[in-house]
């Protein structure tokens, strides 16, 4: 195992690795995106649908960065990926289904 070097991490079942440099780059990207997310709230005149979509996109990118690099899922075995991504998709479907059932809208105005 010594051949993994000083800055790599192993991931049971996976073949790749991430370095400390990668971790720090990901952390910087996460900090920048979070800053932009919060700053977006204070910019006047952004249409609500644009604001909501951009916030959701930035959140999705942050989610991917943490899961892919910090949790090593990008490098991990496909069984591990299936174990997480499958239920994650079900969770998203649950959220959309519950919202549809209760006529809750993120982007569209509620009917009166």
């Amino acid at each position: 195992m010594a051949d993994h070097g000083t800055t790599t991490a192993t991931h049971g079942g996976g073949g790749g690795h991430a370095t400390v440099r990668t971790y720090i780059q990901v952390a910087i990207a996460l900090a920048i995106i979070t800053g932009v997310e919060v700053a977006t709230l204070y910019i006047p005149g952004i249409p609500n649908p644009v604001l909501v979509i951009s916030l959701l996109l930035m959140s999705a990118v942050k989610f991917y960065l943490v899961v892919g690099f910090f949790m090593h899922l990008k490098y991990d075995h496909q069984i591990m990926r299936a174990l997480f991504v499958g239920p994650l998709l079900i969770a998203v479907i649950i959220i959309l289904a519950v919202m549809a059932l209760f006529s809750a809208f993120l982007l569209l105005p509620r009917p009166h």
């Binding site: 195992m1 993994h4 000083t6 800055t7 790599t8 991490a9 192993t10 991931h11 049971g12 079942g13 991430a18 400390v20 971790y23 720090i24 990901v26 952390a27 996460l30 900090a31 979070t34 997310e37 919060v38 977006t40 709230l41 609500n48 604001l51 909501v52 916030l55 959701l56 930035m58 959140s59 942050k62 989610f63 943490v66 899961v67 910090f70 949790m71 075995h77 069984i79 591990m80 174990l83 997480f84 499958g86 239920p87 994650l88 079900i90 969770a91 998203v92 649950i94 959220i95 959309l96 289904a97 519950v98 919202m99 059932l101 209760f102 809750a104 993120l106 509620r110």
Partner: protein, 201 residues
């Protein structure tokens, strides 16, 4: 490397017939189920959003700078967690323990911020679990997340304690990696909560 893996699998009771560590598989399966748990709570919050008959609205009570700071704390703690893993990989146990302690400290700071937020809601805005639909769904969702973070802090402190007593080294990499998976999961749940609950108008 393949020969090494085969030998390792033959002798390590934690490696199943898939060739994967079943403790790690178990953690991923748990995290998958927890996704659905938090998905249900987030869905319920959104379903009842704006439908409270009384009480303060979210935007009267939310303190965005405070929660942004909390979000930054959790993100930073994810970095220190992977740095702990990298240090343990190199068998720098003391360094790994230091990063784990930093991770736990940031997690604890997050929990204290949440306690302060809840205290403010209850005492300044009279918003409790039973005040309104907003109060019920908000406190249940963020409360369960806070409980997850608290559990993570305790787990990390146990690992730090093991390291200080000389009972943790690079052979325990998977144990720390599994704790890390759990810790990063509470971070990604907060990424979702922060955007969906606090930021989206």
């Amino acid at each position: 490397m393949a020969d090494h893996s085969a030998t390792h699998a033959a002798h390590d009771p934690n490696i199943g017939n898939t060739g994967l560590d079943h403790r790690k598989m178990g953690m991923w399966a748990f995290l998958g189920s927890d996704c659905m748990f938090f998905g249900s709570l987030i869905g319920t919050y959104l379903a009842y959003k704006g439908k409270s008959l009384s009480g303060p609205t979210p935007y009267e009570v939310f303190d965005i700078p405070l929660t942004s700071y909390s979000a930054a704390l959790l993100l930073a703690s994810s970095l220190t967690m992977v740095l702990a893993l990298a240090a343990l990989q190199d068998n720098r146990v003391k360094v790994a323990a230091g990063w784990l302690l930093a991770t736990a400290a940031m997690g604890l700071h997050f929990v204290l911020n949440q306690v302060y937020e809840f205290w403010t809601f209850v005492n300044h805005y009279n918003l409790t679990l039973s005040t309104s639909l907003f109060g019920s769904t908000f406190f249940v969702l963020t409360g369960f997340h806070g409980a997850h973070v608290t559990g993570g802090v305790i787990w990390l402190l146990l690992l730090v304690s093991l390291a200080w007593r000389g009972q943790l080294d690079r052979r325990d990499y998977t144990k720390v990696e599994i704790a890390g998976l759990y810790w990063h999961f509470v971070d990604i749940v907060w990424i979702a909560i922060f955007t969906i609950i606090y930021l989206i108008p």
